[in-house]
Amino acid sequence: MISIAGIELDVIERGRGTPILYLHGGAGIGPDAAFIDALAQERRVIAPSHPGFGKSSLPDWLDNVDDIAHVYLELMDRLKLTRIDLVGFSIGGWIAAEMATKVPERIDRLVLIGPVGVKTGTPDKLDIPDVFAMPREKLDQLRFHDPARYAPELATMPDDELHIVARNSETLALLTWEPYMHNPKLKHRLHRVNVPTLLLRGASDGIVSADYLARYAALIPGARIETIAQAGHLPQHEQPAATAATVLQFLQAEKEAATSGARR
């Protein structure tokens, strides 16, 4: 546990090398274990559980994603991470995007996997389906390419794990209820992100659409898009090896480009 601003943060550290800060999504860090291990084959990975997720505490004052972005800037200072590669999934991608608008000079490369956080469409249509107003079976269909294999088995899950699932969804509601899944200010700040950026999504993602991702990418100068086949909203869970390979390849290629002076 690392104490930041009175919050006890549960932080995973794996591997060696240039650091990657990985930020999990609304379902917590549980589904990301294989992906984190795959990244850690080549790099040092630091992966905190967000306040109110996993075993990290949740202070009364904290109630939005931007608050968490500030907590992680302080975490970077605490861990003496002058510069990092930043990878975030879903609301972790939103947190990463917020951080990148604040300190672009401390982020070498940015990867957003199925990110939420901006409102790009019209007022009369939700950009992101209302995950708080649908049956769980429907949610699993939207989230997974292969729900039969990857949807969590809540009925048989051990009590302590199920408690974390419940708590994660409560914190997700706290953070994303209104404005729903976005910060209206973020899209007016993303032009500050002048670092190599990759946006990824699973080809079968029913939460973050291809259109949404394209409009998100258009807000970040020079951002690229890639798709992971046979994966839904959690490509790092359904295709951990392919997703890690895509991320590592992007980070490495951009690093070499920067080193050779060919950076954009």
């Binding site: 107003a133 899950m157 408690h163 209820w177």
Partner: protein, 400 residues
């Protein structure tokens, strides 16, 4: 004992339940015929006026996006009743203050009704049932905290009389609070809070507000009341808790004969059977404590609609203490049995209309109660009584 006629302003003219997903939140409003709705408002208001004529007090509530209660702005109906009635106390139970963005506006609305009615307002505050968070777009997390801050802010708005005061709290911010009119009753109208769990009741007891509980029956109610009494005593309000601090809401139908009572009671069951709501509207994340939420995710919560339907017989509802129905003698004894079981309560909130219980039937039920049960209740359950369990200590401990 004070009795209150409570009607939810239901709109029962719906297609068969298997043709829609939910009676709340998502039910298309094309199913609402405004002409039929207008006639229903007239009718339900008439029934409240008849209740007043019979010496019964008046209660109304508020829900949103639902056919079960077409009263999404209860203060509007309350304002109409303030002018249409002369003597009845007017209980709104209540203002869903965890879902209202401007508590000061609620303070203004309630102060206005108190003045319009010349001091007959009884002002209830509720957190709101879980299906209210989507209609209000209200975050289901930290609702209790919002409710209590809003309530305290409203009391401050009611009781500050020397120019603007300010409030910079966790959830609400006002720099210039100076409401006109101020309440008719001083220092402010009586405050009611509804709770269906012991956890909330202790806090209500500590404040000394009136605690109301709905359909919690023989099994659920004693612990709620005991928690209230403990909160009251722990806050230094004295050992004696007056019965007028506690209220119980049940379905009530009185008939001259058992057959007549049974027919009316069967129709009242609509209140329980019609509440078809899917699980994802019933348990928004954060509404219930995390351990309860976890059990719901596991599948512990069965289909509420099916459960209600299975238990929704007149006999089962009476046995559980959710319904008091029968001849005047039977109903008096049923209510007295509940009264004794829970240690006494000073207010009976009568859910006296539901679904297809027609106007004549509703009125007959109100009159039969008012004329043949109410006088006996007032005598047997005086307002000066002290609430508390008087059985042996072992039972009291179990209940507490």
């Amino acid at each position: 004992m004070k009795a209150w006629h409570f009607s939810e302003n239901a709109y029962p003219y719906l297609p068969p339940a298997d043709e829609y997903e939910s009676i709340r939140v998502s039910l298309p409003s094309r199913l609402y015929d405004p002409k039929k709705g207008a006639a229903l408002y007239d009718r339900y208001i008439d029934e409240w006026l008849i209740a007043e004529d019979e010496g019964v007090e008046i209660m109304l509530n508020e829900h949103h996006q639902t056919a079960t209660c077409v009263d999404p702005a209860a203060p509007l109906v309350l304002a109409a009743l303030a002018r249409l009635t002369k003597k009845a106390r007017l209980l709104i139970l209540g203002n869903p203050v965890a879902n209202r963005r401007q508590p000061v506006r609620v303070a203004e609305e309630m102060a206005m009704v108190d003045v319009l009615s010349k001091g007959r307002l009884e002002c209830g505050f509720v957190r709101g049932v879980p299906y209210e968070v989507l209609p209000a777009n209200s975050n289901p997390v930290r609702m209790n905290e919002r409710q209590w801050e809003a309530m305290d802010l409203i009391v401050k708005a009611w009781t500050s009389h020397d120019g603007p005061v300010s409030h910079e709290g966790r959830f609400f911010h006002h720099r210039n609070i100076n409401i006109w009119p101020r309440p008719y009753q001083q220092p402010h109208p009586p405050i009611w809070v509804s709770t269906t769990t012991p956890g909330g009741a202790g806090r209500v007891g500590a404040r000394g507000y009136v605690q109301a509980t709905f359909l919690t029956g023989f099994t659920g109610t004693p612990a709620i009341y005991e928690s209230y009494r403990k909160g009251w005593r722990d806050a230094g309000r004295g050992t004696d808790v007056p019965v007028d601090r506690l209220a119980y809401a049940a379905l009530v139908y009185v008939g001259e004969s058992e057959a007549e009572a049974r027919a009316g009671a069967e129709k009242l069951l609509w209140y329980m059977t019609a509440n078809k709501v899917p699980l994802h509207f019933c348990y928004p994340p954060g509404y219930v404590p995390t351990p309860v939420h976890a059990q719901i995710l596991r599948g512990a919560a069965i289909d509420q609609h099916a459960a209600n339907k299975a238990n929704a017989t007149v006999d089962k509802a009476i046995e559980a203490g959710l319904m008091f129905a029968g001849t005047p003698d039977q109903v008096f004894l049923q209510i007295k049995r509940m009264y004794d079981h829970v240690g006494g309560f000073g207010h009976l909130l009568i859910m006296g209309q539901a679904g297809f219980l027609e106007h004549d039937e509703t009125v007959r039920g109100i009159k039969a109660f008012a004329r043949e049960v109410y006088p006996r209740l007032k005598e047997a359950c005086p307002d000066t009584a002290i609430s508390g369990l008087r059985r042996d200590a072992a039972t009291a401990r179990v209940v507490a």
